[in-house]
């Protein structure tokens, strides 16, 4: 659905100093009908990337293809027509204060020249779809942050775009509202089969709704792939953020090992690890950990305390053998030194 080919964007420095390289040779392919997350620190180039997708920013070099059209090559009326295929949701919604919720939602249709009767019918559908029934005649100033973002999403969907681009759609919302909005996005993908791109700095958003995740760092992609693969790759830069490392437990009279699993055919749950420990005459207790179920698979970063039958820490040899067997099966296992 979206293909970026060697995309670079260089901004001339305002004061005549070094130019800013916001994007540096981005190659990315985003499949249709899925929710794609793009994460990265502030200044990594996320917004610039999304602006290139809408033709609001012209790439310095490279190709930007959205739904088969080369957006970067378009101009004038052709670009405006292409933009109608792309819906956009913003952090602060950017609704017009002079329009009611319904009028804001109808705006893309108005611009596209859809007749009034048809517009009203579509707005009624959208109001229902995003759960705003009864609030359609309110002005943005009379709506809560969550309701405003629902209007923003409905507006983004109004012209039935194939792609919905969301730039930090939940960053201005509280936790429970964030969950509602993400639920709505997941539901829309399910019902409309739309391709969604979400830019965010919140890993919770990625864990909750994204199918794939791409990490942007200083204008380049440092990791990209299906959420499960990325989360389960303990050596990748994203896994520690998606599955955070628990703080090392203190005051435990035992050997503690850290195990990252999710990548292993043989060890699929924490229980599998505990069962293996038994074959080494050790009792493993889960003392800390983060476990996520992504697409039906468990990915975990857990810490196990190992003791022998008499409650003493297990032997060095036993530990080494245990760790080696885990490593051989694709679990990253290390001893935690307090």
């Amino acid at each position: 659905m979206i293909t970026l080919d060697g995309l670079s964007k260089v901004f001339p420095a305002p004061g005549g100093g070094d130019p800013v390289v916001a994007l540096d040779g981005i190659d990315l392919h985003l499949e249709p009908g899925r929710v794609h997350g793009i994460v990265g620190r502030s200044g990594a180039g996320k917004s610039t990337l999304i602006r290139c997708l809408t033709g609001l920013e012209k790439p310095s070099t490279g190709r930007v293809e959205v739904d088969g059209t080369d957006v970067a090559a378009l101009d004038g009326a052709a670009l405006r027509a292409a933009r109608r295929n792309i819906g956009m949701v913003f952090q602060h919604a950017n609704l017009l204060d002079s329009r009611t919720a319904a009028q804001n939602i109808a705006h893309p249709l108005e611009i596209a020249g859809v007749p009034r009767a048809q517009r009203q019918q579509r707005v009624a559908e959208l109001v229902e779809l995003v759960g705003l029934t009864g609030r359609e005649d309110n002005y943005p100033a009379q709506l809560s942050g969550g309701q405003i973002q629902r209007v923003g999403i409905a507006r983004g969907l109004a012209a039935e775009p194939k792609v919905l681009l969301c730039d930090e759609p939940t960053s201005a919302l509280d936790g429970s509202t964030t969950r509602q909005i993400l639920g709505l996005i997941a539901d829309l993908r399910e019902r409309l089969g739309i391709t969604v791109v979400i830019i965010t700095h919140e890993m919770g958003v990625v864990r909750e709704v994204c199918d794939t995740v791409t990490l942007l760092q200083d204008g380049t992609i440092t990791q990209s792939g299906d959420l499960l693969d990325v989360a389960a790759d303990p050596h990748g830069p994203l896994s520690a953020e998606l599955i955070p490392l628990p703080p090392a437990p203190t005051g435990i009279e035992a050997l503690v090992v850290n195990c990252d699993y999710g990548n292993s055919e043989r060890f699929r749950t924490t229980d599998d690890l505990i069962r293996l420990a038994e074959t080494y005459e050790a009792e493993a207790t889960l003392v800390a950990g983060t476990i996520e179920t992504i697409g039906g698979c468990q990915v975990g970063r857990v810490q196990l305390a190992l003791r022998n039958r008499s409650g003493q820490p297990i032997s060095r040899e036993g530990l080494t053998a245990f760790l080696t067997e885990l490593e051989a099966a694709g679990v990253v296992a290390t001893e935690v030194t307090a």
Binding site: M88, N94, R99, I111
Partner: protein, 233 residues
Amino acid sequence: MIGTLQEWLSNPLLVRWEGGPWEATLVTLYMTVVTMALTVVLGLPLGVALYETDDSASPLVRKLNQVTGFVVNVLRSFPFFILIIALIPITSAITGRSTGPNAAMIALTIAAVPFAARLFELNLREIPAGKIEAVRMMGASRWQVIRQVLIPEALPGLIGSITTTTIAVIGYTAMAGSVNAGGLGQLAYNRGYTGYQTEMIVVTVVLLIAIVILVQLIGDRLSRAVDHRARTA
């Protein structure tokens, strides 16, 4: 006090229609309304043009913006009294005479348009860039952005600017009175100042103040009526 008021109200100079304060009020209102109609019709496009061309990609358009901005600044800093005298040859060429309300309105409009255009430009600048970008991303043309975003979003401020300009124009009409434009200003000057009728000065000043207060009141009401933004305390 009451006695004086009654005395005034029966003063034939003040209640007489022809050449009296009521007729002069009507002339002042006439000049103000026509001038403001012209000012909105000419000043709003100029304000939009100043706003739109400010950061144009084309160097030619940017140059044009700078030249226009310069002309606007010069006209704005011109003292109105000097402007009206300087314009006498032009106004008499257009209206056939160098005095009277119609001649004054040309000078009034030339003074008010740049004043209003700058205020309109500032009103437009207050619209957050994100809102404009959001609508551009819907595939809106430049014209659609002007009609559907810039004007409606800035409307409360634009009405405020029209109010401010109207009040300035009322002040200018009074000044124009001293060069025979007619209206309250001329009445105060001819009969009050030159003719030693102090009552006339008092009455015209009171009437001018009343008009200004009324204009401000109506402007504030209108501006609030079209303002749907959240009120921040």
